[in-house]
C-alpha cells in the first residue's frame, strides 16, 4: 500500500521519460531487437530457471507483492502509454542515451531475476523496468516457446511480458500443454477481479488504460478500504475460493489483500491478453476460463458474485475479441510489436466491444450457477434481523434549493454489516436514487422492488418556501407522513434478502458521507422527461402486446393481481374517507367542546353550568382521542394499503419484465427461423461462401434463442419464488396491520371510557 501510492504518483511526473523509453522498444522494432540480446541473454537463464526448477517453491515465495505492484503496475502504465506516442523510432535511441545511468541500473537489476523486489526499493528505476523486460521478451518470444512458461511463473511481475510472450505461444501448439496450467494460475486471480470490480474505481480502471496504473493503485487502496468497509466477507470468500482452487495461487492469498487486488488485475490483463494467443484451439482455454469463473462465482456466493458475473463475462468475451486482429497480425511474426498493442486496445474499451459469437455460452452459465447460491442465501436469512428507522427530518438550506435530510438509523445482527447499530444522514432524493439503482439492477432478474415514496412537488415546494420554524400543521404533517413512508420503504427493502445485500443498499445505509447526488430523480430534469417517455412507451407496449400465456400460474396470478389492485384501490378510497371523516369528527368535537364551554359560562344555573363545563372538558379530551384515532386510521390502514397499491405496481412491473423477456425470446426465435431459411436457400443455391456465413448466423441465433429462453425461464422461476414470498409477507403484513389497528382502536376506546368514567360521578355529584 505505502509503496504503491508513491509509485503511482511517480508515474505521473516521469510520464515524459517513460513514454519515450517505453514507447521505443515497443513501437520501433530495431532498437528492440538490437537492445535485447544482452538483457535477454542474461535474463533468459533466470527465466528458465524460474520456470523449470523453482517455479513453485522458490519463485512464488519471493515477496511477490512488491514486484507485482511495482513492476506490474508500471508495466501496465507504460503499456498504456504506448499507443499515444506512435512512431518515435529514431529518438528512441537518443532518449535512452540521454539517460544512460538509469538504463544501466535497470539492466543490472534486470539481470537479476526481474521479479525480485529490488526494483521496488527504487521506484524511480522500476519505472524503467518495462524497458528491458519487454524488449527482452520481445526478442525472446519469437525464438523459443518457453517464454510463456516463464511469464506464467512470473505472472505477477509483468503483463507486458505475457503480452509479448503470448504471440509465440499461439503460434506453437506445443504451448498448450504448458500454457494451460499457466492459464489456470492466472485465472483464479482473473476471477478475483470480479470481486474488486464491485468497486467502481476498479471498473473505471478498465475503461482507460492510460489511467490504469494510477487507478490500479487507487483501486487497490480503495479496495482495501471499501472492501473492508462494505464487504469484508467478500474477501474471505475470495481468499478461500482461490486458495482452495489453486495451489499456485495460495501464495498470493496468504499475502495482504493489496496483492490480491492488484495482482489479479494484472493477471486478468495477462489472461486477457493470453487468450487470443490460444485461438488456435481457443475452445479449451475458453472453457477453462468459464469454468473457473463459474466456480468462483459459486463460491463467492455473495450477490456480488452473481451480480457481477455478467460484468466480468464481458471481460472474458473481450479476450475473444482480439483474436481476429491478433491472429491476423501474428503470422507475419516479423513485427512482434503490433500484437501487444492490439490486445491492449480492447482492454481499453472492454464494455464497448461486447463480442457476441463466442460469448454465447458464457453469460448464461455463471448466472445459472450462481442462482442457487442466492436462493440459498434467501432461505438462510431466518433469524437475521435488520431494522431501519428514520428520524430527525431537517431542512437544510434555504429557498428552492433547500432539501430535507433524514437520519437513517440501522439496527441489525447481519454479519456483513460492520456494526450492530449506527446511523447516517440521507436526503430524500437519495432514497429515490437508491430505488432507481435497485430497479436497474434487480428488476430484470424478476425481483419485486419495493417502490420508494412518491415525489410530491406541491408538498416539497410548500416546505421549501415555508419559514424555518414552520409550525404549519400541514407541512409538518407532510414531513411526518413522508418520514413514515420512507421508513416503511427502507424496511421493506431491507426485508428482502437479495436487496439488502446489494452493495448500493449497503452503501446507502452504511457510508457515513454524502452520497453522490442522484440526478435522475427530479421530475423536471431531462432524465425525468426521458423516464416519462419510457413509461409511455412501456404503457403502449403493455397495451399492444398481448402475450399468449403458456403458464397457467402466471395467467391466474396476473388476473389475481389485477383484481387485487382494484380491490385495494377501493379499500383505500374507503379508508381515505374514513380518515377524513374521523378528522371531521375530531374537529367538530373540538368545536362542540368550545361551544359547550361558552354555554356553561352563559348558564346561570350553577349546577347545570358546572355540568356543562365538565362536559366541555370531557369532549375536549375525546377530541384529542379522536384525532389520534384518525392518525391511527391513516398510518395503520390507509398508508399500508397505499403501500400495497404501489407494491402491486412493482409486481406488475416485474410481470411486465417477464413479458419483455418473452418478447425477446420470441424475436430471437423468429430471427432464427429466418436465418435458417436463408441458410437453406443458400444451400439450395449452392453458394458455399454464403452457406458458411448463414451457418454462423444460425448458430448465433440459436445461441440467442437458447439464452433468451433460459432467461425467460429464469425470470419466470424467480417471479414465482418472489410472488410466493410476496404473498407470505403480505399476509403477515395484513395481520400486523390488523393487530396494530385494532389495538389503536382499543386504546382510543379505553381512553374514551376513562374520560366518561371520570365525568359521570362528578356530574352526578353536581346534580
Amino acid at each position: 500500500m505505502l509503496l504503491q501510492s508513491p509509485v503511482s504518483e511517480l508515474t505521473t511526473p516521469e510520464d515524459q521519460t517513460k513514454q519515450e523509453g517505453a514507447g521505443d522498444p515497443l513501437t520501433s522494432p530495431p532498437p528492440a531487437t538490437s537492445f535485447p540480446p544482452d538483457p535477454s541473454g542474461g535474463d533468459r537463464p533466470d527465466l528458465f530457471e524460474s520456470c523449470e526448477e523453482p517455479s513453485v517453491g522458490g519463485f512464488s515465495s519471493v515477496p511477490l507483492e512488491q514486484p507485482a505492484e511495482g513492476g506490474g503496475t508500471q508495466q501496465v502504465s507504460t503499456d498504456a502509454k504506448d499507443p499515444p506516442p506512435t512512431p518515435p523510432t529514431t529518438p528512441s535511441v537518443g532518449s535512452l542515451v540521454e539517460i544512460p545511468l538509469i538504463v544501466d541500473t535497470d539492466k543490472d537489476q534486470d539481470l537479476q531475476p526481474t521479479t525480485t523486489s529490488s526494483s521496488l526499493t527504487h521506484p524511480d528505476f522500476t519505472l524503467f523496468d518495462p524497458l528491458p523486460n519487454t524488449s527482452e521478451d520481445l526478442t525472446s518470444s519469437p525464438d523459443i516457446l518457453t517464454p510463456p512458461e516463464t511469464s506464467t511463473t512470473s505472472t505477477p511481475t509483468t503483463s507486458a511480458q505475457e503480452l509479448s510472450a503470448s504471440p509465440p505461444s499461439s503460434s506453437a501448439l506445443l504451448d498448450l500443454s504448458m500454457t494451460l496450467p499457466q492459464e489456470l494460475s492466472s485465472e483464479p486471480p482473473a476471477n478475483l477481479v470480479d470481486a474488486p470490480s464491485v468497486e467502481p474505481a476498479v471498473m473505471s480502471s478498465f475503461i482507460t488504460p492510460a489511467e490504469e496504473a494510477s487507478t490500479l493503485d487507487a483501486a487497490a487502496a480503495t479496495n482495501d478500504d471499501d472492501d473492508d468497509a462494505t464487504n469484508p466477507t467478500n474477501h474471505a470468500g475470495e481468499d478461500t475460493a482461490s486458495s482452495s482452487e489453486e495451489a499456485l495461487v495460495t501464495v498470493y492469498d496468504s499475502e495482504t489483500p493489496e496483492v490480491h487486488s492488484s495482482a489479479p488485475e494484472l493477471d486478468a490483463d495477462s489472461s486477457l491478453l493470453n487468450a487470443p494467443s490460444f485461438l488456435g484451439d481457443g475452445e479449451t482455454t475458453e472453457i477453462s476460463l468459464d469454468d473457473t469463473a463459474q466456480e468462483v462465482s459459486l463460491e463467492d456466493e455473495t450477490d456480488d458474485g452473481e451480480l457481477f458475473d455478467p460484468a466480468s463475462t464481458p471481460k472474458l468475451q473481450l479476450n475473444q475479441d482480439p483474436p481476429l486482429p491478433a491472429s491476423n497480425i501474428l503470422p507475419p511474426m516479423g513485427a512482434p510489436l503490433t500484437p501487444p498493442v492490439a490486445p491492449i486496445t480492447p482492454t481499453a474499451t472492454p464494455n464497448l466491444t461486447p463480442n457476441v459469437t463466442p460469448a454465447a455460452p458464457t453469460p448464461v452459465t455463471p448466472v445459472a450457477a450462481a442462482r442457487p447460491s442466492a436462493e440459498q442465501l434467501e432461505s438462510e436469512s431466518g433469524d437475521e434481523f435488520i431494522e431501519i428507522s428514520i428520524s430527525d427530518p431537517q431542512k437544510i438550506g434555504d429557498g428552492m434549493s433547500s432539501y430535507m435530510a433524514y437520519k437513517v438509523t440501522t439496527k441489525t445482527n447481519i454479519a456483513y454489516f460492520r456494526k450492530k447499530h449506527w446511523s447516517v444522514t440521507r436526503r430524500f432524493s437519495d432514497f429515490l436514487g437508491l430505488h432507481g439503482k435497485l430497479v436497474e439492477k434487480h428488476l430484470h432478474s424478476g425481483r419485486i422492488i419495493p417502490p420508494a415514496p412518491e415525489k410530491s412537488a406541491i408538498g416539497t415546494t410548500k416546505i421549501k418556501l415555508g419559514s424555518d420554524k414552520s409550525s404549519d400543521s400541514s407541512s409538518s404533517d407532510f414531513i411526518e407522513r413522508r418520514r413514515a413512508s420512507l421508513e416503511r420503504y427502507m424496511n421493506r427493502t431491507a426485508a428482502h434478502p437479495t436487496l439488502r445485500s446489494d452493495p448500493d443498499f449497503r452503501e446507502f445505509i452504511e457510508l457515513d458521507a454524502e452520497l453522490p447526488r442522484a440526478t435522475q430523480t427530479s421530475a423536471l430534469s431531462s432524465a425525468g422527461v426521458l423516464r416519462l417517455f419510457n413509461r409511455v412507451g412501456e404503457t403502449v407496449n403493455k397495451m399492444t402486446f398481448k402475450m399468449d400465456e403458456s403458464d397457467q400460474w402466471f395467467e391466474e396470478k396476473t388476473q389475481q393481481i389485477e383484481n387485487l389492485d382494484a380491490q385495494l384501490r377501493k379499500l383505500h378510497a374507503a379508508m381515505e374517507g374514513l380518515v377524513a371523516y374521523r378528522r371531521e369528527l375530531a374537529t367538530s368535537t373540538a368545536s362542540f367542546a368550545k361551544s359547550a364551554a361558552v354555554l356553561s359560562s352563559v348558564e346561570e344555573h350553577s349546577a347545570l353550568s358546572r355540568a356543562l363545563h365538565q362536559l366541555a372538558e370531557s369532549t375536549e379530551r375525546t377530541h384529542t382521542i379522536h384525532h389520534a384515532q384518525a392518525d391511527a386510521d391513516f398510518y395503520h390502514l390507509s398508508e399500508t394499503t397505499k403501500d400495497y397499491i404501489h407494491l402491486i405496481g412493482a409486481v406488475k412491473d416485474v410481470f411486465h419484465e417477464r413479458v419483455k423477456t418473452f418478447q425477446t425470446w420470441q424475436h430471437a426465435q423468429t430471427m432464427l427461423a429466418k436465418k435458417r431459411e436463408a441458410k437453406a436457400k443458400a444451400e439450395l443455391a449452392g453458394r458455399m461462401d454464403k452457406v458458411q456465413q448463414a451457418q454462423d448466423e444460425v448458430a448465433e441465433w440459436e445461441a440467442k434463442v437458447e439464452r433468451s429462453q433460459e432467461e425467460f425461464d429464469r425470470i419466470s422461476r424467480a417471479i414465482k419464488k418472489e410472488m410466493e414470498q410476496f404473498d407470505i409477507v403480505r399476509v403477515k403484513d395484513f395481520k400486523d396491520m390488523l393487530v396494530k389497528y385494532l389495538e389503536a382502536l382499543m386504546t382510543s376506546q379505553q381512553q374514551i371510557i376513562k374520560v366518561w368514567e371520570t365525568f359521570l360521578p362528578e356530574a352526578r355529584a353536581i346534580s
Binding site: 371523516y581 374521523r582 355540568a611 376506546q749 379505553q750 346534580s767
Partner: protein
C-alpha cells in the same frame, strides 16, 4: 317527561287540580311507531290514555298538529305564557329528503337517509306532553278535543299574513326597551346571551352526529371492499388471510352498526333535547317580547293620561287601566312561567347530559368488547 306521565297515572284521583299543587296532565299520549305514509300524507297513530286506561286511539297528521298549535295559542289570552315549540316538519318528499341527506352525509354521498318516523313520533309526543303538562294550556278544551274526538277537526290552512309579520318586526324593535323590573331585565339579558350560544352548541353537536354517520357510511364501504378482497382458498396463507379478513370485516361491520346506532341515539338523547330547549328558549323570548310590548303600551298609556285633556281624561284613564291590568296579568303569569320553565329546563338538560355521558360509556364498552374479541381471534391465527 315519562316520569311526569307516570306521576299523572298515580295521582289520577285528582280530577280538578288545585292551582298551587303541581299541575298534572289530564291525558297521557303515546305515539306508536305505526306510521302510515301515503304520498305526502303521513299519519301518526296516537294512543291516548287516562288513569291508566286507553281512552282513544286516533290517527293524526302533521297538519292537524299545526292546527292544534294555532288553536291553542289563539283561543285564549296567551300573554305571559311560554308556548311549547312545535317540532319542525321532517322531510317527507324525496327532494327534501335528498337535501337533508346531503347535508348530513356530505355532498358526495349517494345514500338517502330513510324516513325516520320514530324521531318524529318522539318529538310530537314530547310536544303533546309539554302541552298537557302546561298548567294553563293543559286545560285547553281544544287540546282535549284533539285527543278525544275520533275525527280530526276540520283544519284551515294557517298562514301568517304580511300584516302580522310586519307587526312582528315592529314589535321586535321594542326588544331594546329597558325593563322596569329587574327580574325580567335579567331574564331578557340571559336569553339574548343564551340563544346564540345554544345555537352554536346545537350546530356543533349536529356536526358530530354527521361525522359519525359519515364514518359509519365509510365503514360500510370498507366492509364491501373487504368482502371483495378474499382470496382463493387453495393455499395455507391464503386461507389465513381470508380468515383474518373475515374477522376484520365482521368487526368493522359491527363497528359500523354501533357507530350508526350511537349517532342515532346521541341525537335523540342529547341533540334533540338541546334543540327542543333551544327552541323553547326562543318561545320564552317571544313571550318576553310580548310582555315588553305590553309594558311599552302601558307606559304609553301612562304618558297619554298625563298629557290627556280633561275631556279625554276618562278614556285615557280607562285605557291606562286596561293596559296596566294586561301588563300586570302578563307579568304575574310570566313570572310563574319563567320559574317553571327554568326549573324544567335545568332538570331536563342535566338529565340529558347525564344520559349522554352514560351512553358514551356503554357504547365505548361495547365497542371495546367487539374489538377485543376480534383482536384475540386474529392473534390466534398463527402465520
Amino acid at each position: 317527561m315519562l316520569e311526569e306521565g307516570s306521576v299523572s297515572g298515580m295521582s289520577s284521583g285528582a280530577s280538578t287540580p288545585e292551582p298551587e299543587a303541581p299541575f298534572t296532565p289530564k291525558f297521557v299520549v303515546r305515539l306508536s311507531d305505526h306510521v302510515t305514509k301515503d304520498g305526502d300524507c303521513v299519519k301518526f297513530t296516537l294512543q291516548v290514555s287516562q288513569n291508566g286506561h286507553t281512552v282513544q286511539v286516533l290517527e293524526r297528521e302533521y297538519e292537524d298538529f299545526e292546527y292544534l298549535e294555532h288553536c291553542v295559542t289563539t283561543s285564549q289570552p296567551s300573554h305571559g305564557l311560554i308556548i311549547p315549540p312545535m317540532p319542525q316538519r321532517s322531510a317527507i318528499d324525496p327532494y327534501n329528503a335528498e337535501i337533508q341527506s346531503k347535508r348530513l352525509m356530505g355532498k358526495g354521498s349517494k345514500t338517502l337517509i330513510p324516513d325516520e318516523f320514530h324521531k318524529d313520533c318522539l318529538q310530537l309526543q314530547k310536544y303533546l306532553e309539554l302541552l298537557l303538562s302546561h298548567p294553563v294550556l293543559g286545560k285547553s278544551q281544544k287540546l282535549h278535543d284533539f285527543l278525544t274526538v275520533k275525527e280530526a277537526p276540520p283544519r284551515t290552512k294557517v298562514k301568517k299574513g304580511l300584516i302580522s309579520r310586519l307587526s312582528d318586526s315592529l314589535d321586535a324593535r321594542k326588544a331594546s326597551y329597558p325593563d322596569c323590573e329587574e327580574f325580567f331585565q335579567k331574564e331578557r339579558d340571559w336569553v339574548a346571551k343564551y340563544q346564540p350560544a345554544a345555537a352554536n352548541a346545537n350546530d356543533a353537536f349536529s356536526k358530530i352526529i354527521c361525522a359519525q354517520l359519515r364514518i359509519s357510511h365509510q365503514l360500510e364501504q370498507m366492509v364491501t371492499a373487504l368482502k371483495l378482497s378474499s382470496l382463493p382458498n387453495d393455499q395455507v396463507h391464503y386461507m389465513q388471510f381470508n380468515n383474518m379478513n373475515m374477522i376484520f370485516l365482521d368487526c368493522i361491520d359491527t363497528l359500523k352498526s354501533q357507530t350508526e346506532e350511537k349517532a342515532d341515539k346521541e341525537d335523540l338523547m342529547f341533540g334533540a333535547v338541546q334543540t327542543l330547549w333551544h327552541r323553547y328558549v326562543q318561545a320564552e323570548n317571544a313571550m318576553l317580547l310580548d310582555r315588553t310590548c305590553l309594558m311599552v303600551d302601558y307606559q304609553a298609556c301612562n304618558r297619554a293620561l298625563d298629557k290627556a285633556k280633561p275631556n279625554r281624561k276618562e278614556a285615557a284613564e280607562r285605557a291606562k287601566k286596561e293596559a296596566e291590568q294586561a301588563f300586570e296579568e302578563c307579568s304575574d303569569a310570566a313570572r310563574q312561567e319563567i320559574k317553571e320553565f327554568q326549573r324544567k329546563r335545568v332538570e331536563e338538560l342535566q338529565r340529558s347530559i347525564d344520559q349522554y355521558a352514560a351512553y358514551q360509556l356503554t357504547c365505548s364498552r361495547a365497542t371495546l368488547n367487539t374489538l377485543t374479541q376480534a383482536l384475540s381471534q386474529i392473534k390466534a391465527i398463527n402465520l
